[in-house]
């Protein structure tokens, strides 16, 4: 694996939830005029990850685990509360840590119905960024847009149309063209195929495979669909309640998941039943705890079949178990250590 390209170092993001009017009043009365400290949503907790140049990293997890927030931090849309994101050694944020200055990371969003402005013709939507950043002079924009439209498999003549004249799959192609027109080095895709039908989803997955080959893109691919991630990604990071619990090259992760959560998640995915056998589900018991009040120690301990007393007290760190394979689990680490002796 080549040198790390996009690197996030102990990134955390906490959102404060302002108390409602009633809660504020109750606090005032209870505390004689003083308000309680604000409630914090721990969306992302000290996450470190790195993506090599040309690598496609999959980020999987259930809703509410913080994967979209992490994606937005890596793109520079959200400033992290703590930690830093560097691309090729340079911070993607301004010196004051607020405004995003880097066009080298671009994003494709989940819902192509919401991410395209309905009042702007798609040609202008694609040209706007590159012209503003001086990638192309405004008199050359038309040809530039035509190139990118044909690159994503759309008719260049579509540039004069409005988003509502396209289907969901075509809109997602437009959103991809808009991101690529900025000539990014890293593309962050947040559930780009989740809202599409199976047959259209396959078309977009193929588009990503081709773009990856032709443009040697570095990608972060956020998805809850473990099948799609397996198909597209070189490496996978699994998130649970704001933390990365396992990170591994794709095939070994699916073959032998180390973290109990990864194992449970993989077992939950329904497989195509081709014979008369009865499918045995092994669902994870319980539900995702609230990020407003994360449990002590390992966040998964309440649902984990292997939990030990230590898991309730101590937060497991992401540690290497094998070359390239990291997991944050006391039990898995102890097992590996025992096997090595």
């Amino acid at each position: 694996m080549s040198a790390p390209f996009l690197v996030a170092t102990s990134v955390s993001k906490r959102f404060s939830q302002p108390p409602t009017w009633g809660e504020r009043l109750a606090q005032r009365l209870r505390n004689r005029g003083r308000a309680d400290p604000p409630r914090l949503v721990h969306a992302v907790e000290s996450v470190s990850l790195s993506i090599a140049r040309g690598e496609v990293l999959g980020l999987v997890g259930e809703s509410g685990c913080g994967k979209s927030t992490l994606g937005r931090i890596l793109t520079g849309i959200l400033p992290p509360t703590e930690g830093s994101v560097r691309l090729d050694g340079r911070s993607i944020m301004d010196a004051d840590g607020r405004r995003k200055i880097d066009r080298r990371v671009q994003m494709v969003f989940q819902n192509p119905y919401a991410s395209l402005n309905p009042r702007i013709r798609v040609g202008r939507a694609i040209a706007e960024g590159p012209v503003a950043h001086g990638l192309v002079p405004s008199h050359g924009a038309r040809a530039y847009v035509a190139d990118w439209l044909s690159c994503v498999g759309l008719d260049p003549a579509c540039a004069g149309r409005y988003p509502h004249q396209f289907s969901g799959g075509q809109r997602q192609r437009i959103a991809i063209a808009r991101a690529l027109a900025m000539q990014p080095e890293v593309l962050v895709c947040d559930e780009p195929v989740a809202s599409l039908d199976v047959s259209i989803q396959a078309q977009i997955i193929n588009l990503f495979l081709r773009l990856r080959r032709e443009l040697s893109l570095t990608m972060l691919f956020i998805s809850h669909d473990l099948g799609v991630v397996r198909h597209l990604c070189d490496r996978v990071a699994v998130m649970y309640l704001g933390r990365i619990v396992e990170s591994s090259p794709t095939e070994p992760l699916y073959e032998s998941p180390q973290h109990p959560y990864t194992r449970a998640l993989l077992a939950s995915v329904p497989a195509l039943r081709l014979d008369e056998s009865v499918v045995t589900f092994r669902p994870i018991a319980g539900e995702l705890p609230s990020p407003l009040d994360p449990p002590s120690g390992c966040a998964f301990h309440a649902r984990c079949p292997l939990a030990e007393p230590r898991c309730l007290a101590e937060i497991p760190l992401l540690e290497p178990l094998a070359p390239g394979r990291d997991a944050a689990c006391h039990v898995a680490a102890a097992r590996i250590a025992a096997a090595a002796v």
Binding site: V198, L232, T250, L265, A271, F281
Partner: protein, 323 residues
């Protein structure tokens, strides 16, 4: 065995200013007591409208324009609204996709369940409470007795869908139509609900129509699968046979586009193009413009034909050999 439900040539059209939108156009299928039918299709294929038509939940400009829905000895398509209300929710009930939209946010769980119970007869409150606790426990809500006075927002997405399923079960219907009930949920919660659902229908002997776009989910639950495309069932048959040896090119195309069936990193065999607009369906087979096997014969609409255990609409079915 006499079928519990027999749908014959059902057609539901939406009469819009741009013309008749044929959302469902000639759907026929049967369902035996205790059987689970998976109704599969992409968005716009008419699977949800089929489900809504069974419960007569179609609102203008939509209308059931022809066909019969024989259920427990009556033709639901011909019933007047009063008679339909006695069946709906009692013998035949529905679970919808989004549990946040189907539960009333300003009523407690008990109030909503009371409404559903009293719609079909008077019951004293203690009996109502007992019945509610009973079904809520059945669908796996822990400590049900203590949650009766909770509002829907106090439940998580998975728990809310369980409440919706519990309401559907209140009157012990003989058929439940479930429209994408796990699509809005996470995989781990989906697995819980699938396991519970299969256990429930097995125990109660309820028939189930499970509408979904996801072949894998359906395959884990259904005895039979019907695949819809542009308002018609293009292929139906026993689950394992249909998935192992699809005869219709569309079923085959859908199965092939699943990432799990192609080695990672390899290009997926996708179906070119997209579903035609329901306002301007091509004459003949609606799949022909995307079909690799289409020829001049496909300009005439194929009629449903039985080939062994499967029924399909295709002039050029695939060989019965394993895919």
């Amino acid at each position: 065995m006499t079928p519990l439900l027999e749908v014959t040539d059902l057609a539901t059209h939406f009469l819009t200013r741009a013309g008749a939108m044929k959302a469902v156009d000639g759907v026929s299928f049967q369902l035996a007591p205790g059987q689970v039918l998976g109704l599969v299709g992409e968005s716009g294929s008419g699977k949800t409208v089929t489900g809504f038509s069974l419960l007569r939940l179609i609102e203008p400009p939509g209308r059931i324009v022809r066909g019969a829905i024989r259920f427990e000895g009556q033709d639901l398509a011909a019933l007047d609204e009063r008679a339909m209300r006695r069946v709906r929710g009692k013998r035949l009930s529905m679970v919808f996709q989004d549990p946040m939209m189907t539960l009333n946010p300003v009523l407690t769980i008990l109030q909503q369940m009371t409404l559903a119970l009293r719609a079909h007869g008077r019951l004293p409150l203690p009996r109502i409470k007992d019945r509610c606790v009973e079904v809520l426990t059945l669908v796996g809500i822990p400590g049900a007795a203590g949650r009766l006075d909770a509002y829907p927002h106090e439940f998580s997405g998975g728990m809310r869908q369980r409440v919706a399923i519990a309401i559907a079960l209140l009157h012990e219907p003989s058929l439940i139509v479930a429209d994408e009930p796990t699509t809005a949920l996470d995989v781990s919660v989906q697995a819980q609900i699938l396991a519970e659902m299969r256990d429930l229908v097995g125990r109660l002997g309820t028939s189930l129509i499970w509408i979904s776009h996801d072949l894998a989910t359906v395959s884990s639950l259904a005895d039979r699968i019907a695949v819809m495309y542009a308002g018609r069932i293009v292929e139906q048959g026993p689950t394992s046979q249909l998935l192992r040896r699809p005869r219709h090119p569309y079923t085959r195309g859908l199965l092939d586009s699943l990432p799990s069936r192609t080695p990672p990193g390899r290009e997926l065999p996708h179906i070119p193009g997209m579903m035609p607009s329901l306002l301007a369906l091509p004459p003949g087979c609606a799949y022909a413009p995307r079909c690799p096997r289409a020829d001049a014969r496909c300009a005439a609409a194929p009629e449903p034909t039985a080939l062994g255990a499967v029924v399909l609409r295709c002039h050029h079915p695939l060989e019965a050999s394993a895919s």
